[in-house]
């Protein structure tokens, strides 16, 4: 990472060694094979809470450290490298962002300290069909006088089985509002979705669920802001995952012998590695710029978030394919880790809008 502060560098080193030593990809394999429903292990999650990662975004007055988005990105990148599974991103990044941007003082007071100590696991529930489309929310919230009654479905909800609280995008009259709904509320049901990356997702059903008027946590504008933060943040995790795939590939190029020489000495592969390296560096700049833009409250955060999600998405797409291709047969076996990176790549690409979504959005933001 570029020009980090001393604090960020320390955090990166801490994250790197913790993830690599305590929760490397081998732990992810064990979790996958165990079939645990939440799709992460309590120890992983507990470790993250203890290191204070759940409080990186949360202001000090609510029990966090308020270090900001680029700092959180440093951690997400290291997590991405080893595919460490946990609700950290869903709850302490996306969820906390929604509360901070859209929540009332009461909501912040009530929720944020619990996000930090891990007793609340938040998740944002937006999409209702197979494609990311926050402009079309069908889930209805009808006014009951004292509050709202919700009916509808949400799909592909990240950590939807583990979440204790949902932040739900609902359509109220012709408007969109975010509503805070406890998972324990009457009428909420959910089922696990078994995705290709073996991580935790759920379809969530809201069948006449009632919440009070104080459940409102922002409008369509807040939703868009939260989503931009999510896009920028997931870019950091994606770049971590892709960078690890690059490192694995480079290592293989230097050690695998074919035709009497290491395969990295074949010019076609050397140039391919050079092109991938260039794309990685360019992607990194976009990813960091988006996170820095949020920290600086810049007015082009939306452009930067779409730029980052698209460029990092293109890189992880190509890099994950090359990871398999260059490893050859061994890369095709489940025994080797390459497949995990490939599978995770496509899920990350689809989350919060794929490359096509963000290219189109970028063009619209630039006025064409």
């Amino acid at each position: 990472m570029a020009a980090l502060t001393e604090e960020q560098s320390m955090l990166r080193d801490q994250a790197k060694s913790w993830v690599t030593e305590q929760f490397p990809v081998q732990k992810f394999r064990e979790m996958r094979d165990s079939g645990v429903v939440a799709r992460f292990t309590p120890e992983t999650w507990q470790g993250m809470i203890e290191m204070g990662w759940t409080g990186i975004l949360v202001p000090e007055q609510y029990g966090g450290s308020g270090l900001g988005y680029l700092t959180f990105g440093v951690v997400l990148e290291e997590i991405g490298r080893q595919l460490t599974a946990s609700p950290l991103f869903a709850s302490a990044y996306v969820g906390a962002t929604a509360v901070m941007l859209g929540g009332s003082d009461d909501q912040k007071q009530a929720i944020l300290p619990k996000v930090v100590d891990g007793s609340v696991i938040l998740t944002l529930a937006v999409d209702e069909g197979p494609r990311h489309d926050p402009a079309k929310i069908a889930l209805k919230a009808e006014s009951t006088g004292s509050g709202y009654q919700l009916s509808g479905n949400k799909t592909f909800v990240v950590e939807g089985m583990a979440a204790t609280d949902f932040i739900v995008a609902a359509s109220i009259d012709d408007d969109v509002k975010l509503l805070h709904v406890p998972a324990s509320a009457d009428g909420v049901s959910r089922e696990a979705m078994s995705m290709v990356d073996s991580r935790g997702y759920a379809n969530v059903h809201f069948d006449g669920v009632e919440v009070g008027a104080e459940a409102v946590m922002g409008d369509a504008a807040v939703l868009e802001q939260v989503l931009d933060c999510a896009r920028a943040g997931i870019g950091a995790e994606m770049l971590g995952t892709a960078s690890q795939a690059f490192d694995m590939t480079l290592d293989y190029l230097k050690t695998r012998v074919q035709f009497g020489q290491v395969i990295g000495s074949f010019q076609a592969l050397g140039h391919r590695a050079a092109e991938l390296f260039g794309q990685m560096e360019l992607s990194r700049s976009c990813m960091e710029a988006a996170l820095q833009g949020i920290d600086a409250d810049a007015d082009d955060v939306s452009e930067l978030a779409s730029l980052s999600k698209a460029k990092v998405g293109d890189f992880i797409h190509e890099m994950s394919n090359q990871l398999i291709q260059i490893h050859g047969g061994i890369g095709m076996t489940d025994e080797f880790d390459a497949g995990f990176y490939l599978k995770r790549a496509r899920v990350l690409e689809a989350a919060y809008g794929n490359q096509a979504f963000h290219r189109d959005r970028y063009a619209r933001l630039l006025g064409f």
Binding site: D127, G129, P130, R131, H132, T155, F156, E191, A192, M193, S194, M195, V196, D197, S198, N203, R256, V257, Q258, F259, G260, Q261, S265, F266, Q267, A268, L269, N321, I324, Q325, G328, G329, G331, M332, T333, D334, E335, A338, G339, L342, K343, R346, V347, A350, N354, Q355, A356, F357, R359, D360
Partner: protein
Amino acid sequence: MSDLETFRAETKAWIEDNFPASLKGSSMGLEGESDESAKADFESWRQRLAEKGWGAPTWPTEYGGAGASDPEAKIISQEMAKQGAFNPIPLMAGMGVTMVGPTVLEYGTEEQKQKHLRGIASGEVRWCLGLSEPNAGSDLASLQTKAEADGDTFKINGQKIWTSGADISQWCGALVRTDSNAKKRDGISFVMLPMDQDGVRTKPIQLISGVSPFCETFFDDARAEKSDLLGPLNEGWSVVKRLLQHERQSQTQARPAGGGGSKPTLQEVAKGYVGTDESGALADTDLRNRLTHHLMDSQAHSLTTSRITAEARGQVKVSAAASILKNSATRIAQGKAELTMEIMGSQGIGWDGDNFSSEELDNVREWLWGKAISIYGGSYEVQNNIISKNILGLPENTQKG
């Protein structure tokens, strides 16, 4: 009526008379069928095909084929398709019909042809191929598996990988080192050995897409008859080169859309998931653009296959074009799976469960499995080496083709 027209009429009639109506429209994978009467119908259909020589119709009749020309063979498959019939024998014979058989026809002794070809052409003997080794990869010639002469047999020790169907095959064609002092490609031989013996052990390989037909195969004092050496001793490299040409040849087709042909087109699938604008164009213009590229590439590929066939005057030759077509077919198959996945959105990245349709789950497997297409049978890079060296005549570069 031309000869071919007569042939077509006779073929049509024979299939009408012999193909069991109960099997109509079912596809090839009926071996494991639990229904007893279907099983019996299937076996009787296999027998009739075998008797007719249509398991491998272009092979000579004395070896279980029908001595058919390429156009005749094409007519047979066309007429079968029209009636919902199929030829299950190539699949049942593993690598037998597509690769081992043609190579035995070319390199085998009369005794070997008599011994092996009928079993393949009838679908009764399944073959696997022991070529790759864990440390060889694309560099096949660096193989380590050793065969030592010992009386009338070779004693074989070593390990093979990616032996497709090894766990269910009766015979194996294996590339072994018979002279460890010779230069890499010179001391290699091709032997045929039965799989049902103490010295052979197989272990299926789990792939990123799930279970697979591939195995690791271990030879521990396994035996092959000396009379089952194919081609001259220490000249197995030329045999296997030919074998691999046959393999490339069998891989030049862009993967068929599969099944009954009534599958919706990719653009229809896309319209279903993504929707259209008021002019009927796909709502996601970025996706629409890449889908257009894909469909154009796909049509260009099939036009090229037809053109090259026509240029060869009806005879599909094992030609230099195979490398171009293999890489083109690879791009299209892999591109299609990626596009389908993107089109299906979050429904396209499911692993299992009722939340996903069988089309959605199938595509995920196809996508993962399809990553192998650019690796096996001469990787994408090796094909480019072949094109640049053998077709374009550029000087040998550091990587061998």
